[in-house]
C-alpha cells in the first residue's frame, strides 16, 4: 500500500480543490464564528443581531466557540465531503479510472490509500480550525485561557472528528455515482434530512445530525445525546469505508 499512499498523497498535496477547501474552512469558520459572536454581544433585536442573539449560548469562550461549533458542524461535513467526493469521483470525471487497472497495486489498496490520506487531512483540518479559532479568540480578547476554553476546544475537536468521519462516507456515493456530482447532491439531501430529523426530535438517531447536536449539547433546551447515538458514526463510517473498498475491488470500466 506504500506505493498507492505516496501517489494519493502527491495528488492531494497538489490539488487546488483541497487547497481552497482547507483555506476556506480553516480561516472562514472561526472568522464567521467571531463575527456572529460580536454581532450577538453588541445587542439589538432586529435582523442579524436578533438572530445571532437567539443562537448565543453563553458568554466568553462558550459563546464564541459555540458559534464556531454550530457553523462547523454543517460546514465541515459539506466542505470535507466535497474533498472526499473529489478524491474518489475525480478518477471518473478525469477519466483516469481505467489507468488504475492492470497494476501491481490493487484498486482496493488505492481506495484504502485515499481514505488514509483523507483521514490525515481531516485531522489536520480540524486542528487548523481549532488553532485559528484559538488565535482569533485570544486576539479579540474573548477571554482568558481557562477550563471553559479547553472544554470548548475539545467539543470543536469532537465536531471535527464526527463531521469528518461522516464526510468519508461520501467516498462510496462518489464511487457508485462515478463522479463527484452524485455525492454533492447526496450531501444536500442529507443536510436537509438532518434538519428534519432534529425538528422531529429524532436527530440523535440520524448520524448526520449528531455533529450539530454535539455543538449545542449541554446548553439549555438541547436534546440529550447518548453514547450509543454517537457510536453510530464510527459504525457508519467503517461500513462506508469497507463498502467503498469492496466497490473499488469489483468495479468495472463501463
Amino acid at each position: 500500500m506504500t506505493a498507492s499512499l505516496r501517489v494519493e498523497w502527491w495528488k492531494l498535496r497538489r490539488s487546488r480543490v483541497v487547497l481552497v477547501a482547507t483555506a476556506l474552512m480553516g480561516l472562514l469558520l472561526p472568522g464567521m464564528g467571531l463575527g456572529f459572536y460580536s454581532v450577538a454581544l453588541n445587542g439589538g433585536t432586529g435582523g442579524l443581531a436578533g438572530k445571532a442573539g437567539a443562537l448565543l449560548i453563553g458568554e466568553g469562550w462558550v459563546g464564541y466557540l459555540g458559534f464556531v461549533d454550530q457553523i462547523s458542524a454543517v460546514a465541515l461535513f459539506l466542505g470535507s465531503g466535497v474533498v472526499v467526493a473529489w478524491m474518489f469521483g475525480r478518477e471518473h470525471a478525469d477519466r483516469t479510472f481505467p489507468a488504475l487497472f492492470a497494476l501491481p497495486v490493487s484498486r482496493g489498496a488505492i481506495a484504502g490509500a485515499k481514505f488514509v490520506v483523507l483521514t490525515v487531512w481531516l485531522a489536520a483540518l480540524t486542528l487548523l480550525v481549532g488553532l485559528v479559532a484559538l488565535v482569533l479568540g485570544l486576539a479579540a480578547g474573548v477571554g482568558p485561557v481557562d477550563a471553559a476554553l479547553i472544554t470548548e476546544l475539545l467539543r470543536l475537536l469532537g465536531i471535527g472528528i464526527t463531521a469528518g468521519m461522516l464526510a468519508l462516507t461520501m467516498g462510496l456515493v462518489a464511487s457508485i455515482g462515478r463522479g463527484y456530482l452524485a455525492a454533492i447532491g447526496a450531501m444536500s439531501v442529507i443536510v436537509a434530512a438532518a434538519q428534519v430529523a432534529v425538528l422531529f426530535g429524532t436527530g440523535g438517531w440520524f448520524p448526520f445530525a449528531v455533529p450539530g447536536l454535539l455543538a449545542i449539547a449541554g446548553s439549555e433546551g438541547a436534546p440529550e445525546l447518548t453514547a450509543v447515538q454517537v457510536a453510530l458514526i464510527p459504525g457508519l463510517t467503517m461500513a462506508g469505508v469497507w463498502a467503498t473498498i469492496v466497490w473499488w475491488r469489483r468495479a468495472e470500466v463501463v
Partner: protein
C-alpha cells in the same frame, strides 16, 4: 503453450448490446498484433477484458496464462497499457505523473528516477517536464500517457489507438516505438485506424466487426483499406442473411 496474451471464446454484452462475441486471439512475444474495426466493433472492449477491466460473460481472457480478472501483481508489473484516456493527472507535472506511474508499477529508487528521466527523453517531453499535465496540448498529453504506460519497460504492451491526437511526426514516432518494443521481444497489441501505419509495422492484423473477428489482413499486401471494407461488407451480408 498458451500465448502471453490470449482470449478464448470470450464474450461480453452490455444489456442487449453484444460488444464482444466469441473472440479467439493469441499474441506472442516479438509480435505486433493490430486490431482494426469500425467504431463499436469491440476493439476497446476486447482490450478491457484482457486488462481485467471487465468480467467476461463467457470464455477467458488471459495474460501470462492467468485470468485477467485475478492475475497476480507479478503479472501486472510487466504490463503497460493505454486505454482511451492517458494516465495524466492535471494537477501533477509531467515528471510527477511519470513518477506516479512508475511507483504504481512497483519501481523504486534509484531505478525509478533513472527510468523517469529516460522516459522524458525518449518521449521528447523535456520541455514540459515541470509543467502541469492539465496545461499540455492533446498531443503532448497523449505522449505523456504513452510514456506513463511504458516507463517501467513492460514486456506486454496493450495500446488502444495510440496515435490519437498525434501529429504526423508523432505517428512516425509511435511506429518506431512499436517496432523497438517488438524488437525487444515484447508482446504488442494495438488498435488503430491508420492503415498505412499498420501496414508498415504490424505482423498480424485482425479485423473485428460487430464484436466478432471477421478475418485478417496481410500487412504486406496492397490496398489494406479496400480489403478491410471488403471483409466488413461480407460480414454484414452474412449477418443480414443469418437474421433473415
Amino acid at each position: 503453450m498458451t500465448a502471453p496474451v490470449a482470449t478464448s471464446d470470450v464474450a461480453r454484452a452490455f444489456g442487449d448490446e453484444t460488444a464482444v462475441d466469441g473472440v479467439d486471439l493469441e499474441v506472442r512475444n516479438g509480435e505486433i498484433h493490430a486490431i482494426v474495426g469500425l467504431n463499436g466493433a469491440g476493439k476497446t472492449t476486447l482490450m478491457r477484458l484482457l486488462l481485467g477491466m471487465l468480467r467476461p460473460d463467457r470464455g477467458r481472457a488471459t495474460v501470462m496464462g492467468f485470468d485477467a480478472l485475478d492475475a497476480p501483481s507479478s503479472v501486472w508489473r510487466d504490463v503497460g497499457h493505454l486505454i482511451e484516456q492517458p494516465f495524466a493527472y492535471p494537477e501533477l507535472t509531467v515528471r510527477e505523473n511519470l513518477r506516479a506511474s512508475a511507483v504504481l508499477h512497483a519501481l523504486s529508487p534509484p531505478a525509478l528516477d533513472a527510468d523517469v528521466e529516460d522516459a522524458i527523453e525518449m518521449f521528447e517531453l523535456g520541455k514540459w517536464a515541470d509543467r502541469r499535465a492539465g496545461t499540455l496540448s492533446l498531443g503532448n498529453r497523449q505522449r505523456l500517457g504513452l510514456a506513463s504506460a511504458l516507463v517501467h519497460r513492460p514486456q506486454i504492451v496493450i495500446l488502444d489507438e495510440p496515435a490519437n491526437a498525434l501529429d504526423p511526426a508523432g505517428i512516425v514516432f509511435i511506429r518506431d516505438l512499436l517496432q523497438r518494443l517488438a524488437g525487444n521481444d515484447a508482446v504488442v497489441l494495438v488498435s488503430s485506424h491508420h492503415f498505412d501505419q499498420l501496414a508498415r509495422v504490424a505482423d498480424t492484423i485482425t479485423v473485428m466487426h460487430r464484436g466478432r473477428v471477421v478475418g485478417s489482413l496481410d500487412p504486406g499486401g496492397v490496398d489494406l483499406e479496400q480489403r478491410f471494407f471488403d471483409l466488413v461488407h461480407r460480414a454484414d451480408l452474412a449477418w443480414g442473411a443469418n437474421r433473415r
